[in-house]
C-alpha cells in the first residue's frame, strides 16, 4: 500500500460513515448505562485485520471529534508498530492532532495497558478487546454464558481461581484478570496485566471497550467500583519486581524485560514509554540511563 499523507479521498471523517458512527454511539450509551454488560453491535469490516484492534478503532472513530487529541499505545508504548499504525490511520482519515503525552490526550486508544499516569475526567480510555467474554474459557457456548451473566451465576470463575491455587499455590492468572463491575457484571478487562486492574477502580475517565471480531462493546463509567475476583484467604495481588526501570529508576511502574544477548543478560524498562520519558526529562535516572537503540 502506498502511503499518501494528504488524507484519504472518498472517505468520511475518521473513516466510518455517520450512520455507522451513530449506531456505535448508541451501543456505547447502552454500555455506559449498564456497566460491564457486553452490548452487541454491528461491527464493520475495517481496513485492518480482525484481532488487530478493529473494536477499539471503531469506538475511537465513533467518539473522535475534530478538536480531539489522540494517543495510541500498544503494550504501554507509543512506538510499537501496531500503535504507530493505528495512529497513522487516524491522522490520515481524520486529520486529528496526535500526541504521545498522556496528559495532552483527550482520547487514548490502548492495547494491553493502562497508562501509569492517573487519567482525568476529560479523557476517554478505549481498550482493544480480543475476547470480551470472561466466562468463555470455562464455558465456550454463548447461549449459556449470556444466561450465566443474566442470572449472576459466576461460581465457575472461582473454580478457575481455586484450580490455580490448588496446582500452583497462587492464583496463576496474570493478565486479563476478571473483575466485577459495580457489584454486578463479571467483566474481562482485556489482556492488560493484573498490575493495571486497580487503576480501573474509581477511575475519573470514561473507559470503553471494543471487540470488533466478537461484535461487542462494553464500558465502565467514571468513578465506578471495579473489583478483581479473589478469595478471602488468597487476596488479589499485583505483580512486583525486584528491579527498577534501568532508564528512569521508577519502582512503581510495569516493567518490560529486555533480553540483551543469549548469555542471559537482561534489563528492565518501563512499558509506559511516555511515563519513562517524562521521568527522565525531570532528571530521574536508572542504572543504565543511556538510550537504547531502536529496534530494526
Amino acid at each position: 500500500m502506498r502511503m499518501n499523507d494528504s488524507g484519504l479521498d472518498g472517505y468520511n471523517f475518521a473513516y466510518l460513515d455517520e450512520q455507522t458512527k451513530r449506531m456505535i454511539r448508541r451501543a456505547i450509551l447502552k454500555a455506559i448505562a449498564i456497566p460491564g454488560y457486553q452490548v452487541p453491535f454491528g461491527s464493520r469490516e475495517m481496513p485492518l485485520p480482525y484481532g488487530w484492534g478493529t473494536g477499539g478503532i471503531q469506538i475511537t472513530a465513533a467518539v473522535l471529534g475534530t478538536d480531539d487529541t489522540l494517543k495510541v499505545i500498544d503494550q504501554g508504548s507509543d512506538d510499537t508498530t501496531n500503535a504507530v499504525n493505528i495512529r497513522r490511520f487516524f491522522s490520515r482519515t481524520a486529520g486529528v492532532a496526535t500526541t504521545t503525552k498522556t496528559t495532552e490526550a483527550s482520547v487514548i486508544q490502548t492495547r494491553h495497558r493502562i497508562p501509569e499516569k492517573k487519567l482525568r475526567e476529560d479523557q476517554v480510555l478505549i481498550y482493544q478487546v480480543p475476547i470480551p467474554e470472561p466466562l468463555r474459557f470455562m464455558e465456550p457456548r454463548e447461549i449459556e454464558t449470556r444466561k450465566m451473566h443474566a442470572l449472576q451465576e459466576y461460581g465457575v470463575m472461582h473454580v478457575k481461581l481455586y484450580e490455580d491455587i490448588a496446582r500452583f499455590g497462587h492464583i496463576a492468572t496474570t493478565y486479563n484478570y476478571p473483575v466485577r463491575v459495580n457489584d454486578r457484571y463479571v467483566m474481562a478487562p482485556s489482556p492488560i496485566p493484573k498490575f493495571d486492574n486497580p487503576k480501573m477502580n474509581d477511575m475519573p475517565a470514561l473507559q470503553l471497550f471494543g471487540a470488533g471480531r466478537e461484535k461487542r462493546i462494553y464500558a465502565i463509567p467514571p468513578y465506578t467500583k471495579v473489583s478483581s475476583l479473589d478469595f478471602d484467604d488468597h487476596p488479589f495481588e499485583v505483580q512486583k519486581w525486584d528491579e527498577t526501570c534501568a532508564l528512569c529508576g521508577a519502582s512503581d511502574s510495569f516493567l518490560d524485560e529486555i533480553v540483551l544477548n543469549d548469555t542471559g543478560d537482561r534489563m528492565f524498562v518501563c512499558s509506559d514509554s511516555d511515563y519513562c520519558e517524562e521521568r527522565r526529562e525531570l532528571g530521574y535516572k536508572g542504572t543504565q540511563p543511556e538510550e537504547q537503540g531502536d529496534a530494526a
Binding site: M1, F137, D256, V269
Partner: protein, 372 residues
C-alpha cells in the same frame, strides 16, 4: 458400480477443449508466464509448494497457471507429480538458527538479541484498495533503496527466542528425537493412529491452510484453549545439505525459503513439578505465516495427552484433525459426489417408495392426523 452415460468419452474430450479455452481466457490479453507467477504471485506459489510437499517454484507456478489459479487444484497437480519422483537421498536436519533472516519478530519480548526485524509484511498495511495498481506502469521501489533496506536487516546473530527461555528452564526442553532412528515418513507410509508428534507434524505441515486456520482459531475462542504467545516467527533462507555416502561429509545442494513459528503456550506444573511453558511448532515453505502459526496452535492442541489435558474440543482430537487435514483427500471426496450415484440412489428411491406405500396401505391415519 458407476454407470457411464453413452457418448461420455466425446463429452469429456469436448469439456477439456473448453477448459483449455477458459483457462487461457481472452487471447487478446497477454498470456501469463511462469516467471510472472513466480515473481508476482509468490505467496500463492509458497502455499502450493507447502501443501504440495515439493519445493520447486517453477513447478508450483506451472501448477497455478494450469489450474487457473485454483490453489487446491494446483496443490493436487504438484502432489500427483511429486509422487512420481525417485528418492535420491535424505537431507540433513535443518537448523533455523543458521537462517539468513528476512523477517523475525517476537511478541513476547519488546526487544530481543538481534532485534525485531519487521521485513516485508502486510501486517501494518491499511487494507484499502490501491487503485494505482490498476494503472499500467507500476513504479517499482528503486533497487538502491531496496539494497539499503536489506543491508539494514543485514543480520547480527539472532538466537531463537524460545532457546533463551529454555536456558532458564522456563520452557520444556524439546528433543529432536535424534538417535531414535526410525522417523516415520507420511509420504511413504499411511497415517497410523494414534500418531506420535513426528507424524502429526508431518501431516500438519502439508495440511490445508484454511482447515488449520479455522481449527487454530477455534482454540483461541475457547474450544481447547492453550494460551498461546507468538514466541518467535522467523522467515528467511536456509541451506539444504546432504551427506553422500561416498563423501561422508555434508555438502550444500541448494537453498530454500521457509517460515517458522514457535508458540509459547500455557504452562504446566504441579506441586511436585515446577511450572514450565509448553511449546507448539509450525513450519512452512516460503513466506506463509498464517499457515505456520495455525500449525503451531494445532500442534500444541494435539499434545493434550502429553500434558494430561482432557480432550474436549475438535482441535485436540487427533483422529478428527489428522483425518481431515489433507485438502487433496478432502477436495477429492467432497467433489466425488459429482460422480454418478445412480445405482445407490435408485436403491434408496425404491425403498422409500415402498415404505410410503406400505404406510398408505396400513392406513395408520390416527397418528397421521395427530401429526397434522
Amino acid at each position: 458400480m458407476y454407470v457411464a452415460v453413452k457418448g461420455g468419452e466425446e463429452a469429456i474430450e469436448n469439456s477439456q477443449r473448453l477448459l483449455e479455452q477458459k483457462r487461457r481466457g481472452d487471447t487478446a490479453v497477454d498470456e501469463l508466464s511462469i516467471e510472472q507467477i513466480k515473481e508476482q504471485m509468490s505467496l500463492a506459489v509458497d502455499r502450493v509448494m507447502t501443501e504440495g510437499s515439493l519445493y520447486n517454484r517453477d513447478l508450483a507456478a506451472l501448477a497455478i497457471k494450469q489450474a487457473q489459479g485454483d490453489l487446491v487444484e494446483a496443490i493436487f497437480l504438484l502432489r500427483a507429480y511429486r509422487t512420481t519422483l525417485p528418492r535420491l537421498g535424505v537431507s540433513e536436519p535443518i537448523n533455523t538458527n543458521s537462517m539468513c533472516i528476512q523477517r523475525r519478530i517476537s511478541s513476547t519480548f519488546k526487544d530481543i538479541p538481534g532485534g525485531q526485524v519487521l521485513g516485508a509484511t502486510y501486517d501494518y498495511t491499511h487494507r484499502l484498495l490501491d487503485f494505482s495498481l490498476m494503472a499500467e506502469g507500476d513504479e517499482p521501489v528503486s533497487t538502491d533503496e531496496l539494497k539499503q533496506m536489506e543491508s539494514a536487516a543485514d543480520t547480527p546473530r539472532m538466537p531463537r527466542v524460545v532457546d533463551l527461555l529454555n536456558a532458564e528452564g522456563l520452557i520444556e526442553t524439546e528433543s529432536d528425537g535424534a538417535g531414535t532412528g526410525n522417523i516415520p515418513d507420511l509420504t511413504r507410509e499411511p497415517l497410523t493412529l494414534p500418531a506420535d508428534r513426528q507424524l502429526r507434524l508431518q501431516a500438519l505441515a502439508r495440511a490445508d491452510e484454511g482447515f488449520l486456520l479455522a481449527l487454530g482459531y477455534s482454540t483461541q475462542r475457547g474450544y481447547g484453549n492453550n494460551h498461546p504467545f507468538a514466541g518467535e516467527i522467523r522467515h528467511g533462507t536456509l541451506n539444504i545439505e546432504i551427506t553422500p555416502p561416498e563423501l561422508g561429509f555434508p555438502i550444500v545442494i541448494g537453498e530454500i525459503e521457509i517460515t517458522e513459528c514457535e508458540m509459547i503456550n500455557q504452562f504446566t506444573g504441579s506441586k511436585k513439578k515446577p511450572p514450565q511453558f509448553t511449546r507448539g511448532y509450525g513450519i512452512a515453505f516460503g513466506h506463509s505465516e498464517r499457515k505456520a502459526m495455525s500449525m503451531a496452535l494445532i500442534d500444541r492442541a494435539l499434545r493434550c495427552a502429553e500434558f494430561g489435558e482432557t480432550v474436549v474440543s475438535p482441535a485436540q482430537d487427533q483422529e478428527f484433525v489428522l483425518s481431515h487435514t489433507d485438502n487433496v483427500e478432502a477436495s477429492g471426496f467432497v467433489q466425488h459426489l459429482k460422480l454418478p450415484h445412480y445405482v445407490d440412489f435408485q436403491s434408496e428411491l425404491e425403498l422409500v417408495r415402498r415404505l410410503r406405500k406400505e404406510r398408505g396401505d396400513n392406513k395408520q391415519s390416527g397418528i397421521d392426523e395427530k401429526c397434522a
